[in-house]
């Protein structure tokens, strides 16, 4: 019961802090619109690159453009949601370094909610919007033998993917309690992860695919469910039910991320400045 009430409290606080930052952003409406457009352009570069590649070839690793677009849409939409909600955790190292993290500890609000909502950047919706547009086009363009299960699989996959990426952001933030200057390491997993998933698993080396399936289960963000939708063989010959394992995998990611976060928080020592 105590855990549940703390979670409700955390979400409420998150909403209040995020709302405050949105109001502050909206004070400069034109600047906000411009940065959203810039964000759309910047995050769209990845897809432009894929389009340029497909202007030269018909298939990449045996996958056609609509199929790769499906991978891209799922990966970027999930990542966009996670980055909007938890992306601010990545700048935790700065707050530890300059000592302003101490103020978060004395407030009667869960620390994670404060860190995640810190400088809440609404401009980041650009990435998610761009992902949804590509996903929408891909769903129309691919040849899928639609069933109720397959239709339901799409939103479930997006939500689970967002949870998996959010867990990565939180774990990365916890790592910064240990090494404040090493913030860039987590980019390799977050931005690197979403980039990797934009391409079919058949492109990558077997060991790399094994790693992102069994060690860091990114494959469940899109590779496995997309293979199910398209009627393609699963990577690494995973069993048939693996496409629906998303919620379970998401849970398996959240638990260690939460544990690592608590561990990092407990080991925190103020710089004293």
């Amino acid at each position: 019961m105590r855990g549940a009430s703390r979670a409700v409290e955390g979400v409420r606080a998150y909403g209040l802090i995020a709302g405050m930052w949105i109001r502050s952003t909206m004070a400069y409406r034109a600047s906000f619109v411009l940065t959203v457009v810039g964000n759309l352009l910047l995050t769209g570069l990845d897809f432009v690159t894929i389009l340029l590649m497909f202007s030269q070839v018909d298939a990449l690793g045996g996958w056609t453009l609509p199929e790769v677009a499906l991978l891209y849409g799922l990966s970027v939409t999930a990542f966009g949601i996670a980055q909007l909600a938890f992306g601010s955790v990545a700048s935790l190292g700065g707050r530890v370094r300059d000592g302003s993290f101490d103020t978060l500890l004395v407030r009667p609000v869960p620390v994670l909610a404060q860190v995640a909502a810190d400088r809440f950047a609404l401009r980041r919706v650009g990435r998610g919007v761009q992902g949804v547009v590509v996903l929408g086009w891909a769903l129309v363009a691919v040849e899928v033998d639609w069933s109720v299960g397959k239709v339901l699989l799409v939103p479930v996959t997006v939500v689970c993917g967002a949870v998996i990426f959010s867990a990565l952001f939180v774990a990365g933030g916890a790592f910064q309690f240990l090494a404040q200057d090493a913030a860039e390491v987590q980019n390799a997993f977050t931005y690197g992860g979403t980039t990797l998933l934009q391409y079919p698993p058949s492109v990558f080396g077997r060991d790399l695919v094994r790693g992102v399936t069994f060690v860091l289960p990114l494959a469940f963000v899109n590779w496995v469910p997309a293979a199910h939708l398209l009627g393609r063989p699963y990577p690494l010959g995973l069993p048939e039910g693996a496409a629906f394992a998303g919620p379970l995998v998401a849970l398996v990611c959240v638990l260690p991320a939460a544990a690592v976060w608590r561990l990092g928080l407990r080991s925190y020592r103020s710089t004293g400045s």
Binding site: Q56, N187, A188, V203, F204
Partner: protein
């Protein structure tokens, strides 16, 4: 112009300043290596489907990837060099103090950026490049002369990179808020330099345009010199022309900006 001895001192200062952050450097090396790995596999698939794309074979495409990762921090493709600081100084008004100093503003920042770039080439570039060369088939030259030519072209690439970022930074005199400029710098830097796809693999008219823009001088030209796809003199003429033109425009914009400068703050 001030005393000429001051600029080497600024170069050394820039180098030592970045050399202080060892953990951050190691973290950057790790991230560049991971991104290199991801890109290498996608390029291998692309060149398998279309052998000889852009005149490269697979080994050359792989070399291109690791070169891009090695130069990523040095040439600040997505920003993060001196221009962040310069824009902040313009925004806060501290630029007034800089203009009062008996040194040339453009040369001062160039020296500062050269120091940073040399450290980032050594600190962040070498390890991912060696990693790539060890674990993937690459097309690296055996002759020392080619490597010498490559270093020369690299220095020219840095000057062009500086000149582009200097122009972007000066826009802060008019815009003040640097966020949109930083985004524009990032988009053009990543895309037009060929960080996402080699410029010689761009299709049709788009390819012809991006290959003559100044950004081509940063990654495509050094890669072509290293892999023997382009003659040294050809590369240097292209880079030199853009460097001179952009530095000159930078001076013009600078004098226009400083004639109407209104210092912020009180």
């Amino acid at each position: 112009m001030g005393s000429w001895r001051v600029y080497p001192a600024v170069v050394v200062g820039g180098f030592r300043r970045y050399a202080t952050y060892r953990v951050a450097t190691a973290a950057g090396v790790f991230t560049n290596t991971v991104f290199g790995l991801i890109l290498v596999y996608t390029y291998l698939a692309l060149w398998e489907a279309r052998p000889g794309l852009g005149g490269y074979d697979q080994a050359q495409a792989v070399t291109y990837v690791w070169l891009g990762q090695a130069l990523f921090a040095m040439l600040a493709f997505q920003g993060g060099g001196f221009e962040v600081e310069l824009m902040e100084r313009i925004r806060t008004g501290e630029i007034a103090v800089d203009l009062y100093r008996p040194v040339d503003l453009q040369l001062w920042w160039l020296a500062n950026d050269v120091g940073r770039a040399v450290f980032q080439l050594l600190g962040r570039g070498v390890v991912p490049f060696v990693f790539g060369a060890l674990f993937f088939p690459t097309a690296l030259p055996g002759e020392v002369a080619v490597w010498g030519a490559f270093l020369l072209v690299l220095m020219a690439a840095l000057v062009v990179s500086f000149a582009i970022r200097y122009l972007f930074a000066l826009s802060a005199f008019w815009l003040l808020d640097g966020q949109g400029v930083a985004q524009a710098l990032m988009v053009t830097g990543l895309f037009c330099s060929g960080m996402t796809l080699p410029l010689n693999a761009f299709p049709g008219g788009l390819g012809e345009v991006v290959r003559v823009l100044p950004w081509a001088a940063q990654l495509q030209v050094p890669a072509d010199v290293l892999m023997g796809e382009s003659a040294l003199w050809e590369a240097l003429v292209f880079q030199g022309a853009w460097a001179v033109a952009l530095l000159a425009v930078g001076r013009l914009v600078q004098s226009a900006a400083t004639r109407r400068v209104v210092v912020q703050g009180g």
